[in-house]
């Protein structure tokens, strides 16, 4: 099932990158990341993340898709037996953070060859969940998003004790490339 947060108006990337937005640096995973202070974007992302956390904990999430003109998707494999096992699974926080940092760096590297977005774009977050999930309030079912004449690039994956996350970027091949 594909779900997205229902919203009356799209949040444009122009708002995020607008001159009135200030991007603060945040240290996480040993990396400096820029985060938005646009209140509407923060509110939107908080809503998504809160629900996502709940679904991840229940191992109900299969994929997270960020749709702009490009599509970035994260395939999430969840080991549902993890909660049943009595033996604790071993993976250090540092190891997980190292892997996440590596993926984040790859995402930054991807920007070097993605086509330039010359117009304002809106973005959406789609979450693929188990079929039998009850659709929460403020969420709605959606269809998949595909790009015609696209190219796909796979990034590295990272694993926790329960989840394995594979990531991929699909983008429309520019006409002059």
């Amino acid at each position: 099932m594909v779900l997205q947060l229902a919203q009356e108006q799209g949040i444009t990337l122009h708002r995020i990158a607008g001159i009135n937005s200030i991007l603060y640096q945040l240290q996480k995973y040993g990396l400096t990341l820029l985060v938005t202070t646009d209140l509407e974007v923060i509110k939107y992302l908080n809503n998504v993340v809160e629900q996502l956390k709940d679904w991840l904990y229940k191992c109900s999430v299969q994929k997270l898709v960020v749709v702009i003109s490009n599509i970035e998707s994260f395939d999430i494999e969840c080991d549902k037996t993890a909660k049943d096992d009595s033996a604790p699974r071993e993976k250090s926080q540092k190891a997980i953070q190292d892997e996440i940092r590596s993926v984040i760096r790859q995402i930054t590297a991807i920007v070097t060859f993605l086509p330039l977005l010359e117009v304002s774009c809106s973005f959406d977050l789609l979450i693929y969940t188990d079929k039998d999930l009850v659709v929460p309030e403020k969420w709605e079912e959606s269809g998949p998003q595909f790009i015609t004449n696209s190219e796909e690039v796979r990034l590295r994956s990272f694993t926790t004790t329960i989840h394995k996350v594979n990531s991929m970027v699909a983008y429309k091949i520019p006409v002059n490339d």
């Binding site: 640096q25 240290q27 400096t32 590297a109 920007v111 070097t112 060859f113 490339d177």
Partner: protein, 272 residues
């Protein structure tokens, strides 16, 4: 005594090159990661051939301009410094964040001494890097540049790691016939990405970054310093990106009058 007239191969024209028309495929061949040593001769046959850790050939479907070659070099330098964690953010983001005169940003800096130190370090790093980038533009305007080295850590002779950009197979071309530089950059960085050259999980320490570039010995360069006896290091090689455009490359003998020049500034990155 008057100085001899320099015989410089200007970027605009190279004598005695035979061009032949060859139909180019619209789609470039698949970019392959070669994990074995290169079978092609280096531009300067007198330099020892070194085993390669990672080689990435990139074939452009047409000619590129000298300005394009300069952009490839500058973008690769910025990319390596970020990917090897000598800069906390990509160069353009650093410039945007630290140069933006916003009241809120200044407020943050005023309240946090650590942030002020970080801001100073960033300003210095940016200034040094901008200086090198600016002088690279001047260098590329003076002379053909067949090879560029970006060396991290240690010294120019014995770095901890180094990256090479081989431009010797790109025959120079007049600007109006060249491919779009932006499209070439996308092709270049996609190839580097696919080669997964920056996959180490362990964060490297802060290191000095030295830029070296080959140019004609009589090009009149006065900022980059000539290093007549410089040899490409035999240890620490991480990546060679070889660019070509499907046309016949310049004969290796044409590079005999080309020597290494070193940037007089060692770039110092910073961590947040």
């Amino acid at each position: 005594m008057a100085a001899p007239e320099p015989e410089v191969l200007s970027p605009a024209a190279v004598p005695d090159l035979e061009w032949y028309e060859k139909s180019e495929e619209t789609d470039a061949p698949q970019i392959e990661l070669l994990e074995t040593t290169s079978t092609q001769e280096p531009p300067n046959p007198s330099e020892p051939f070194c085993p390669r850790d990672c080689m990435v050939p990139v074939v452009f479907p047409g000619p590129v301009s000298q300005e394009g070659c300069c952009r490839f070099t500058c973008e690769l330098l910025k990319h390596i410094m970020y990917q090897r964690q000598q800069l906390p953010l990509p160069y353009e983001q650093l410039k945007h964040f630290y140069r933006k005169a916003s009241p809120q940003a200044e407020e943050v800096v005023r309240k946090k001494p650590r942030a002020e130190v970080s801001s100073r370090k960033c300003q210095q790093a940016l200034a040094e890097l901008e200086s090198v980038l600016s002088h690279l533009e001047g260098f590329f305007a003076r002379t053909l540049v067949p090879r560029v080295l970006i060396l991290l850590g240690g010294s120019a002779l014995c770095p901890k790691e180094f990256y090479e950009l081989d431009l010797s197979r790109l025959a120079p071309n007049s600007v109006d016939q060249s491919l779009s530089t932006a499209a070439c950059l996308r092709r270049l960085f996609r190839a580097i990405f696919m080669a997964d050259a920056f996959s180490e999980l362990q964060a490297p320490p802060l290191m000095g970054t030295i830029v070296m570039a080959q140019g004609h010995r009589d090009c009149g360069e006065d900022w980059f310093r000539p290093k007549l006896n410089y040899r490409v290091p035999s240890r620490g090689h991480k990546l060679t990106v070889t660019l070509s455009c499907g046309r016949p490359s310049i004969q290796s003998t044409a590079w005999e009058d080309y020597i290494w020049f070193q940037a007089p500034v060692t770039l110092r990155g910073f961590h947040e």
